[in-house]
Symmetry: C4
Subunit: 325 residues, 4 copies
């Protein structure tokens, strides 16, 4: 019967994911919105965008990368000065080899960062050429780092927090699929638009194929996303989930792809965020509790972000599952 309804509704083939793209147990999108996909067949360096990898890296990793780069470049140039001989840096020849290498290393760092104290300074052509090259390399490298830091800062992001649970809640006469989101930073989204795509892995002629269905939202566009926004998909005759039981959902390893687009006036740019829910995240018979409150005194609205998933269990209306159609 569930099948009847699904067959009546047309699945869509313009999701870009392909009917046989999903493996046993593998999801289509990861929770962070990236595709659960690997690429191969062309060299690693051509396959990744270093810029974007560095842009999306965690701050601590990024700082570590910069320190590693700084140390490596200094080691390379220090070796150069060491082989030329530290006396050409104006250093008296005393001290062991390790001390000499350290002097070369510190001179290198003074040149790379263009500090150039001058108590060590290159003398003679070879040391001067290396130092001249190193100061240029320093400036260019730090230009790259400056660009990366700015790029990391200014990367437009939606900063959306999604409720970890997907609720099947009572709605009007029947029930609805609900999820909730809110912006968690001091940004302001306008003209926000959401879209839900349902993926079901079903057997067709003995082969497992993935079918995609757009899910209609009660409200799919809002002017301003100042508070939280609950996406509501009514499970009625026009829904591919109509008469679809908890077991059907699990068997089809249901996955719900959520896509939100909005205009962010911080960045004056379109921002997008995606996420995906799997059937394990569905809570049957629950409704969201309000997450904003009237201020006691100040005259403002208080949005409590830790209540993004706050819900209470409720009785679902009697489904017509076994009698309908």
């Amino acid at each position: 019967m569930a099948v009847n309804n699904r067959q009546r509704l047309r699945d869509i083939d313009n999701t870009g994911f392909g009917a046989n793209s999903s493996v046993e147990g593998g999801r289509i999108l990861n929770p962070d919105g990236t595709a659960n996909l690997r690429k191969r067949g062309i060299p690693f360096w051509e396959r990744i965008s270093i810029y974007h990898t560095l842009l999306r890296m965690k701050p601590a990793h990024f700082i570590l990368m910069v320190f590693l780069f700084y140390t490596t470049v200094n080691l390379i140039f220090a070796s150069g000065y060491f082989f030329i001989g530290v006396e050409s840096l104006g250093v008296e020849q005393g001290g062991g080899l390790f001390e000499q290498f350290l002097e070369a290393f510190f001179f290198s760092s003074q040149t790379l960062t263009t500090v150039g104290y001058g108590h060590m300074a290159p003398r003679g052509i070879p040391a001067n050429i290396v130092a001249s090259t190193e100061s240029l390399v320093g400036i260019l490298s730090f230009a790259v780092v400056t660009g990366l830091i700015y790029g990391r800062f200014s990367r437009p992001r939606a900063y959306l927090l999604f409720s970890p649970s997907l609720l099947i809640a009572p709605y009007k006469e029947g029930k609805a699929l609900m999820l909730r989101m809110a912006t968690y930073k001091n940004n302001h989204l306008t003209d926000a638009e959401a879209g839900l795509t349902l993926a079901l892995h079903v057997k067709e002629n003995g082969k497992t194929v993935t079918k995609f269905y757009p899910l209609k939202l009660e409200i799919e566009k809002i002017n301003s996303m100042a508070l939280s926004w609950t996406l509501v998909h009514a499970i009625n005759e026009d829904s591919p989930l109509y008469n679809y039981s908890k077991e059907d959902v699990a068997e089809a390893r249901m996955e719900l792809i959520v896509m939100v687009k909005a205009f962010d006036d911080h960045f004056s740019n379109m921002v997008q965020q995606r996420t995906s829910y799997t059937y394990q995240q569905v809570v049957y018979g629950a409704k969201f509790l309000p997450m904003f409150e009237r201020g006691q005194s100040g005259g403002y609205t208080l949005l409590e972000l830790n209540k993004i998933n706050a819900h209470e269990l409720v009785q679902l209306p009697e489904t017509v599952q076994n009698t309908a159609v």
Copy 2:
């Protein structure tokens, strides 16, 4: 009767502000267009975007922040050099502790900014490691500052000036709600589009709820916003304000949300600006005076920005308030 008209018109639920989001006496949007809202429930550092806070800070505050940061970082590294001992900077051991700390502080500032005069310079491994680290920290910090300064400069903004008053003016046979705006910088907006949303706090079944209504504009899109633009909403049978008296407006604590979008050719980007008017800003029976003038000699138009709110009181047409519908 006012109620009749409002009930006939559908209120909208896609404003994103929610029916019960507004507190007693609290407005929905602040005059600067930000939502009158606070967030809580997740840690402060996750809740704010430092980048955007620094971007939207007043120039004087931003410069102060940079100086504070500079001084703090110097104090930290100066402490380092001080504990290692200033003699490892090549400073003769004379002078008290305070003088020694000052020497360390100035050496630190010379290293952080990569000036590196060299009359003080690090000697020995500990001082060299601290100095090498500090010059890297300096370059990275100033990369951040460079990015912030560029971000502050290049942030797309509409630079719109709104009339502080909202006029109820005679218009055609009846009356209209009017407000005026103009760009106050040497920027040029094209394809400008405006939208008005009216918020009324009304009693429904003994509970105060907020209802939102879009207000139709006579002209809602203009090709070019070179001069001033007066937004005109005719208060006729299709307006939620029809037959709504001054007292009704105050009782419902009317708030008018204004949203303007345009393409700015300075930034080659969409820009948005919002503002909000409360019922206290309404002037009944007034019309705007022209704010641009023909030049005496030069052959150009002169826009007088100090006249943005210039209006004169006029007689409103007899309202049909007590006889209609």
Copy 3:
């Protein structure tokens, strides 16, 4: 009769320029597309965007501004060192006051640019505080300059060249208004869209008012603007220029506002360019000559930008001016 046609056509009031915005003899837009407008009534510094003024300045002026700024800042700090006394820079007290000021000036420039040779270096608290401040000011100033230089480079522009003349050319059975444009840089515009607005200054009830009419284009959108694009407005019964003689055009001080929007794949951004033609630029009875050529050998198309205005005089078809309608 001309008037008949104009009255039959609706003029538009959403151009943003206003019916009485234009003065005797003053044009609405300047040839470079900026509005012929001045603003006053708020302080100069609030009225202009310094960033955008510096962004749109000619390269030579911009470089001059940077040099002036560099010299001024150096003079200010040099005065500081001079009053503290150049002996605190490690300079021997010999030489006159002018020589001392020069030493202070050169030390200042070494500090501002963070070169810091070190043969002069600050000694004592006052000189150190000034030097420490100056090196910070230097870094921040050059951060601003770096941002401005990047902003100048990366400002999206359409780089369109317009034909200086507006032709009235034979077209199909009748005639048409034509102008030609081409991109003159190695940029590539796609999805280009053009719009023409005609402004006529006409007498109405004894008062001169400005009427605006959109002019219909034969092709108003092209996929790719690789070669030249000739905008063609057929002067037929639906045109406000139908039966409008050369004298009518001059009397109404006709102005034609041209607006082009496109997507530029250099900048991956929308770009816009505007220009304006006055009635003096109209050439009656002429048609454009081709401006691209088949290459002799290489197998490419050659676009000759110096032929943007190339046209030959031709006979216009007999107008039906004195007999029609």
Copy 4:
């Protein structure tokens, strides 16, 4: 007969390429999507955008340009110091002219990069003026380079890989033109949109003219371009290629212009990529092999980019070429 079909279909004139723009044997677009076009008639420096030329240059060439620039500027300033005399840099007068020039060169590089060791430092007014200017030039130049490096990094690009071959494959009852593409970097495109324009060089009244036809796609918009996307144009009665033989295609020197637009969430920006296929790239009777695979264990999809052109030869359905219409 082929001609019959083409004449029945309207060709389009809004491609921006012009009917007689193409030379004998010359293609319209290059494979990299740039127009096969040269411009002349205005000075070289006005005709190219230096910024964009440097932005699109290969990395190796860009680095070479920076090194050349660095060396050239150093040579110029070194000449200045050399003519003033290296003794004004604090260098002892020993050594030949070449040694002196080298000293001047190395001092110049220390000043340009603002390293400023100080064992050489300017003395006297002429040397100080040159050094003060050079350090400013250095900072400004490296500001330019920083901007260019950031611009190179952050330039929005689609990173699309196209199949080198254009297949004529069996499709439904008939056949279809197919090409395949995939993103080869770790970027994610959403709301992707493709358009095909066919160019045919045909004889009309004895003159060769270029006709353009839009080709209808089975799916022209997809939500997400995570995997590969095969563009399919069915060659049916509504196609300008219907009943067009291999020989016709070659005679008309068919060229297929492909344009893809999408929203990239790395850049939060629209990206575009174009390419063009010529008739030599057409493979008659072939179909693409799948290029993604189910992972053995990990639970993800594997996209094999080296299979972008993988196809096998197949029998095409009997064409109705000689009997139809």
